[in-house]
């Protein structure tokens, strides 16, 4: 399958010795990248290795300090994204750039509206064209749907559609699978194949090695801003890729000892929670979580996972049903009570929206749930010394880099931002730890770190609820797996005696 669509006579993109400096910091140090027509080229590197910086240079968001960029053999200066779009470069960002209350079509034509006479918007022509492209590449998008009503996977396809609509020949996908479910990932792989067959070139940023193996033809590895190598994917193993990326041997397996589960910690009975549209997203859900176990919730995105987490954390109203902790009903508790009174802590799925105040520094973020307690404050007055001493100890204990509690959270890499959240949630030894997509967008090293933190929590006899759209993760980390489908738990299985296909079937609505 690999290499079949590549036209080796044509180079779509060539980046030669690209250097990008931010002040004294060298984010890209003489990086080379060469992509042919019809090729899927993967960029691999840890968080903060400089992959995104490199593609931002290509997309005109940054100007390279040194080096040359050739598009279809012609040397170009890409001063801003408009130029990039004119050159046929499209980019799908990790964080989508969509206007939520707008429809698919409105989002796609934004900035290039098709008009009739006198500047009157011509939506129907645009809609037809959007539908055409969607069908041509198998994107399955309804042009009239509102962005806020469709799943994350669909939103991503809208972003791809937007780039295609603007005539992209070279498509940059920044961690496209970070938010997708296994079936959605398969769909994306199909879409990528369709695109390369049409002669498009794809640059895909990811840290998921098996995806690279599955979809990419070539892979360029970057480590700490430096070019390491470009390899033909079929000729290397996942292990080779991983060690090239981190510069050492890594282990994929989650190390975990056998452990008997303890008494009942969190019990959920017949829970009903409505989504923003007023439709029950969690619809009669039962679940039991014991001490000393990691219970993984597997399921396709949009089956009520986020509503379930919001209901458990007190952020969303419970319509009916009972949530109890250690036999005591806690339904309808405020977020503050959930955190401080019941000691249920959460690693939220969207770390930049729910997890961190990005403008706050690391120490301030670390006390977000405990600022009102001694020693961080006393009678309403903050104790700065204690706060920053705590920040210091946490950056050290949780290996947050750079180790400086005065840095604003915004300036940390995604992996280190997640470490701040984990430090905050785990350091108070919660009774129940809810981890919602805790490794979203993280690299191998950081994933190892997060999984270890979850297992440690379990080994200390605490309960851990893991919600993830990545089946591999659920199967590797959990002791038991509950499958969620249309707001209900459709089956609970022991992680030891189950195979991927079986769970996949349940996730799609089949029963065991």
């Amino acid at each position: 399958m690999h290499l079949t669509t590549i036209d080796f006579s044509q180079k779509s993109v060539e980046m030669i010795d690209v250097v990008k400096k931010f002040g004294d910091f060298v984010a890209n140090d003489r990086i080379r990248l060469s992509v042919h027509k019809g090729e899927v080229h993967s960029l691999l590197g840890e968080n903060g290795a400089g992959k995104t910086t490199l593609v931002n240079c290509l997309y005109g968001l940054y100007r390279p300090t040194e080096g040359r960029i050739l598009i279809k053999g012609r040397e170009v200066t890409i001063s801003d994204p408009t130029v990039a779009i004119q050159l046929g470069i499209g980019m799908v960002h990790q964080h989508f750039m969509l206007v939520e209350p707008f429809t698919v079509t409105q989002n796609i034509i934004l900035g290039r509206e098709t008009t009739k006479m006198m500047g009157i918007l011509d939506l129907s022509t645009a809609e037809r064209k959007v539908a055409e492209i969607s069908e041509h590449y198998g994107l399955a998008i309804n042009p009239r749907d509102k962005i806020e009503d469709i799943s994350v996977g669909s939103q991503q396809r809208v972003e791809i559609l937007k780039a295609l609509y603007r005539g992209a020949e070279i498509l940059i996908l920044d961690e496209p699978t970070a938010v997708l479910t296994p079936p959605e990932i398969q769909e994306l792989v199909g879409i990528i194949r369709n695109l390369t067959q049409e002669g498009k070139s794809i640059i895909i940023i990811t840290h998921k090695l098996h995806e690279i193996k599955q979809v990419a033809d070539y892979c360029t590895i970057i480590r700490r801003g430096k070019y390491i190598d470009t390899v033909e994917v079929d000729k290397v193993t996942e292990m080779d890729l991983a060690s090239m990326m981190v510069g050492r041997e890594v282990s994929f397996a989650v190390e975990k000892t056998e452990q008997e589960k303890g008494e009942l910690a969190l019990a959920i009975q017949d829970l009903v929670v409505k989504d923003n549209r007023g439709i029950p997203a969690v619809n009669g859900l039962d679940l039991e979580l014991h001490k000393g176990e990691i219970l993984g919730i597997a399921g396709v995105d949009g089956n009520g996972q986020s509503e379930l987490v919001e209901a458990l954390t007190g952020l969303r109203k419970v319509d009916s049903g009972v949530i109890s902790l250690h036999g005591k009903e806690i339904t309808g508790s405020t977020p503050k009570d959930v955190i401080n009174k019941w000691n249920i802590r959460t690693i939220p799925d969207d770390r930049q929206k729910r997890g961190l105040v990005l403008e706050f520094d690391v120490a301030e973020n670390l006390i977000l749930e405990t600022y009102h307690d001694v020693p961080f404050s006393n009678r309403g007055v903050l104790n700065m010394e204690e706060i920053y001493a705590y920040g210091d100890s946490c950056t050290e204990k949780f290996d947050i880099r750079p180790s400086n509690p005065y840095l604003v959270a915004k300036s940390l890499s995604g992996g280190n931002q997640q470490k701040v959240i984990i430090a905050r949630e785990v350091n108070n030894d919660p009774e129940v730890l809810i981890a919602s997509q805790p490794t979203r967008g993280l690299d191998v090293g950081a994933i190892e770190y997060v999984h270890t933190a979850l297992v440690n929590q379990r080994d200390r006899g605490k309960a851990v609820l893991l919600i993830s759209f990545e089946l591999d993760e659920v199967m590797n980390v959990s002791d038991r797996i509950a499958v969620i489908f249309e707001g209900k738990i459709v089956g609970v299985v022991d992680a030891k005696d189950v195979d991927e296909h079986e769970i996949g079937l349940m996730m799609a609505g089949g029963t065991r």
């Binding site: 977000l368 600022y371 903050l382």
Partner: protein
């Protein structure tokens, strides 16, 4: 050494203070251009303004008196902005504060310190209710604070115009309330000034006497104390921590257990209380009464500009308020001295705000200039 200077330069240009100073310079530049187009010598006009601010101690005193309410309304707007709320209603909160201070100052008879405390205290409560109302309506019903505070501004204006018509409060037909008792005034040495010794002193001491000729009052001291208080609340208390968290990212604040709606109300209560103090101090220190208003006086609206120029901080509001006071007072003098339009001053202030709001544009201009200099 050279490196140090480079580092210092980049720090200055990238920091908000540097950008603000450049914006101010650009404002003056544009003002000069307009004066030139209108046929006046801008250098002469600026010299007149400068002289009008600094040449006599009396002028400096007036600048401070002008600046005092602006500093405090600036603090009010800044406080709300730090919680992510745009308090357009400082104007109305100022007015209700002024009404309360005028009423308390006239109707009660108390010893000095007690009387002032009571008047200011009631003004704080009135302003806090006015602001808190907008915060509550937002938290409870989701009405945007810009809409509700604009409405509350007009209610305050007409409320003020109504109370001065009450016979108990003001003499009929004058459109003014009765002057407040002398015990409610915060003017410095006001009794002594008109005593024989005072008159003698003023005549013999040029500089100090000059200052005493103005309605010099304790308001500025209040303003400085309030700036320190605002800084302290925002940066050193759990309340300030909550409010800033909500201002930066309400979603994360909510997930962290902070009651976002309550924070909004608190923020508007404090913001409103501050604006109320501004109104009170103006009555207790300068006007000593309230009068029928044909239109908004603009202290609250100017506070928005002061807050923006001052980068929403306590110290910034003090400096920006003084700049505003200087320009308003000193700028008025070009009319008499040169028959030049004082509107130029408003254009300058507008330009400064425009540039402050566009830090990216200034950075762009700077990089272009830098490249030119290199070539």
């Amino acid at each position: 050494m050279n490196l140090d200077r480079e580092a210092l330069k980049s720090k200055f240009l990238n920091g908000s203070l540097g950008l603000t100073l450049i914006s101010i310079a650009l404002g003056f530049l544009l003002g000069a251009l307009i004066l030139l187009m209108a046929g006046f010598n801008p250098l002469e006009a600026y010299w007149v303004i400068l002289k009008g601010i600094f040449s006599r101690s009396k002028y400096v005193s007036y600048v401070i008196i002008y600046a005092t309410p602006l500093i405090i309304t600036g603090l009010s707007v800044a406080f709300a902005l730090r919680t992510g709320l745009f308090n357009i209603g400082a104007e109305g909160q100022y007015i209700v504060g002024a009404i309360m201070a005028a009423a308390a100052g006239y109707f009660f008879k108390l010893p000095l310190i007690l009387h002032v405390t009571l008047a200011v205290g009631l003004a704080v409560i009135a302003g806090a209710i006015w602001g808190g109302l907008a915060g509550y309506i937002k938290a409870r019903f989701g009405v945007h604070e810009v809409i509700s505070t604009i409405m509350l501004n007009w209610i305050a204006l007409y409320l003020s115009n109504f109370v001065v018509t009450l016979s108990a409060f003001g003499s009929q037909g004058t459109g003014k309330s009765y002057a407040i008792q002398s015990t409610a005034r915060i003017n410095l040495l006001s009794d002594w000034k008109i005593s024989e010794a005072g008159i003698e002193f003023i005549r013999n001491h040029k500089i100090l006497g000059d200052i005493l000729k103005t309605p010099v009052n304790a308001g500025f001291i209040f303003a400085i104390l309030l700036a320190v208080l605002v800084w302290y609340i925002l940066n050193k208390t759990t309340l300030g921590y909550e409010l800033r968290a909500v201002g930066f990212n309400p979603h994360a604040a909510e997930a962290g257990g902070i009651n976002v709606k309550k924070s909004m109300v608190y923020s508007m209560v404090i913001s409103g209380g501050l604006a109320g103090i501004a109104g009170a101090l103006q009555v207790l220190g300068v006007s000593h009464r309230i009068a029928k208003l044909a239109a908004m006086e603009g202290y609250g609206f100017d506070g928005i500009a002061v807050s923006l120029i001052g980068n929403n901080t306590g110290a910034g509001s003090v400096l920006a308020g003084l700049l505003f006071g200087s320009l308003k007072y000193g700028g008025s003098k070009i009319q008499d001295a040169m028959q030049a339009p004082t509107e130029v001053i408003n254009i300058m202030i507008g330009t400064i705000i425009l540039f402050v709001a566009m830090p990216k544009l200034i950075r762009l201009i700077l990089t272009i200039l830098e490249k030119r200099a290199k070539n």
